[in-house]
């Protein structure tokens, strides 16, 4: 296993000294997970592996833009993998910015006192996810991992759209409440 701090150290090692061993460690941990994530969207194993490789190579290229006070390594890698997946689905069109500007450029001034929390959000979210009911976790997983809008999720689970919306809203509401309690 790789802790959040260790993963952030590895990305910083790539940024500061092009550390190939650090890249290999990150790759061993995240590439199989990214591959699994891409496959959930219906992509075959071979193409998903290519996307995972490309995502991790993007981690290498953009390592200097990673900022552990804004996002955890897993969150940052998630945004890269997500954008790679969007490109995959829109093959032939103009690729979108791989850089999630929010995690790189968003002004911090008005959130200055919250910048430390940004890094902690991830740990907290991880804890909270384990507290969700299976029903809630399933809709959240589908929304994130299978690239599905609410309407499609409702179709698949054979649930009314309103039920899917309320499950998602409940799940997100619990996360938000718990996190906001921490922020104030």
């Amino acid at each position: 296993m790789l802790s959040a701090d260790e993963a952030a150290d590895l990305i910083e090692a790539i940024a500061s000294r092009q550390d190939r061993a650090a890249f290999a460690s990150l790759f061993r941990h995240f590439a199989p997970r990214v591959k699994g994530f891409i496959m959930r969207g219906g992509t075959d194993a071979e193409a998903a592996q290519e996307v995972a490789q490309e995502a991790l190579i993007m981690v290498w290229r953009k390592a200097a833009s990673f900022d552990r006070s804004r996002a955890s390594a897993a969150t940052w890698i998630y945004t890269i993998a997500r954008n790679k997946r969007i490109d995959l689905l829109r093959r032939g069109q103009r690729p979108i910015d791989t850089e999630d500007w929010l995690l790189v450029h968003a002004p911090e001034s008005e959130d200055a006192d919250k910048s430390i929390l940004a890094g902690q959000t991830y740990t907290k979210v991880k804890e909270l996810l384990t507290g969700l009911s299976t029903d809630q976790l399933v809709v959240i997983q589908k929304a994130f991992f299978e690239d599905k809008t609410h309407t499609v999720i409702a179709d698949e689970l054979k649930l009314p759209l309103g039920t899917v919306k309320s499950r998602i809203r409940l799940a997100l509401g619990r996360l938000r409440e718990a996190l906001e309690k921490d922020e104030t």
Binding site: Q18, R20, F23, A24, F30, A31, P32, R33, V34, K35, G36, F37, M39, A48, Q49, A52, Q53, L56, I57, W60, R61, K62, A64, S65, A71, S72, A73, A74, T75, I77, Y78, T79, A81, R82, N83, R85, R90, Q93, R94, I96, W101, L102, V104, H105, A106, D111, T121, Y122, V125, K126, L129, I140, A143, F144, F145, D147, T149, I168, R169, L172
Partner: protein
């Protein structure tokens, strides 16, 4: 806190990468201008990160790592990204809009009352425009058969649903007619994403709708 935030499910679809490029641009601009929306999307991205960390590991070919390592020689570690340069005349444009602006782009006067810049965003189901309204002027009364997303980027406007200022997000009122009027002060600039052509309902509608449908105005 914005008085008119985007619906949370739209933020979720954005963070999950499930939105088409045009609505995704509208949400990105809202997020850029509204700290509360930014925190919400930060949290949702963190959910994505936590889920990926917990994701079952798919097996990789033994050669996968070697192949990736072999490619690193050709891939430089780039210096930290610097914010894109603002184009003159577009100082009000938040960062996510900049890739869509081209040198020489200019406002085109429509109907003598408002100006438009049509943006080229992939995906043909949506029409994406920047609109500029002079204070006190409005759009002709219209309704939306499909979704409409509006993000206010400069100044403000008021319609029957309330007053919208910089960063505010509106989801089109569906069948309801509305007639936004720009507030006093700087001209109101907004990004509008329309799912299908709008329908003008005022006295000029029957003459102008055919032009709207053909994308002329």
């Amino acid at each position: 806190m914005s008085r008119h935030p985007a619906p949370e499910e739209l933020l979720l679809d954005y963070a999950a990468g499930a939105l088409s490029p045009a609505p995704a641009l509208a949400v990105a601009l809202h997020v850029a201008l509204d700290p509360a929306a930014r925190r919400a999307v930060d949290r949702l991205n963190a959910v994505g990160g936590a889920l990926i960390e917990d994701e079952a590991e798919a097996s990789l070919d033994d050669a996968a790592l070697d192949q990736a390592m072999a490619r690193l020689d050709q891939v430089a570690v780039e210096p930290r990204a610097v914010p894109a340069v603002l184009q003159p005349g577009f100082e009000w444009a938040p960062p996510p809009l900049l890739p869509h602006l081209r040198p020489g782009m200019g406002w085109r006067r429509i109907l003598g009352k408002f100006d438009e810049i049509r943006l080229d965003v992939p995906g043909d189901a949506y029409r994406v425009s920047l609109l500029r309204l002079e204070p006190g002027h409005g759009l002709p009364e219209h309704k939306h058969p499909g979704y409409e997303y509006t993000v206010c980027l400069q100044g403000g406007y008021t319609d029957a649903t309330g007053r919208y200022t910089v960063g505010d997000f509106a989801v089109g009122p569906g069948d309801q007619r509305h007639e936004p009027i720009a507030d006093a002060g700087d001209p109101c600039i907004a990004l509008i994403v329309v799912e299908r052509p709008i329908v003008l309902t005022g006295p000029w509608g029957r003459w102008l709708n055919p032009l709207v449908h053909r994308g002329i105005i």
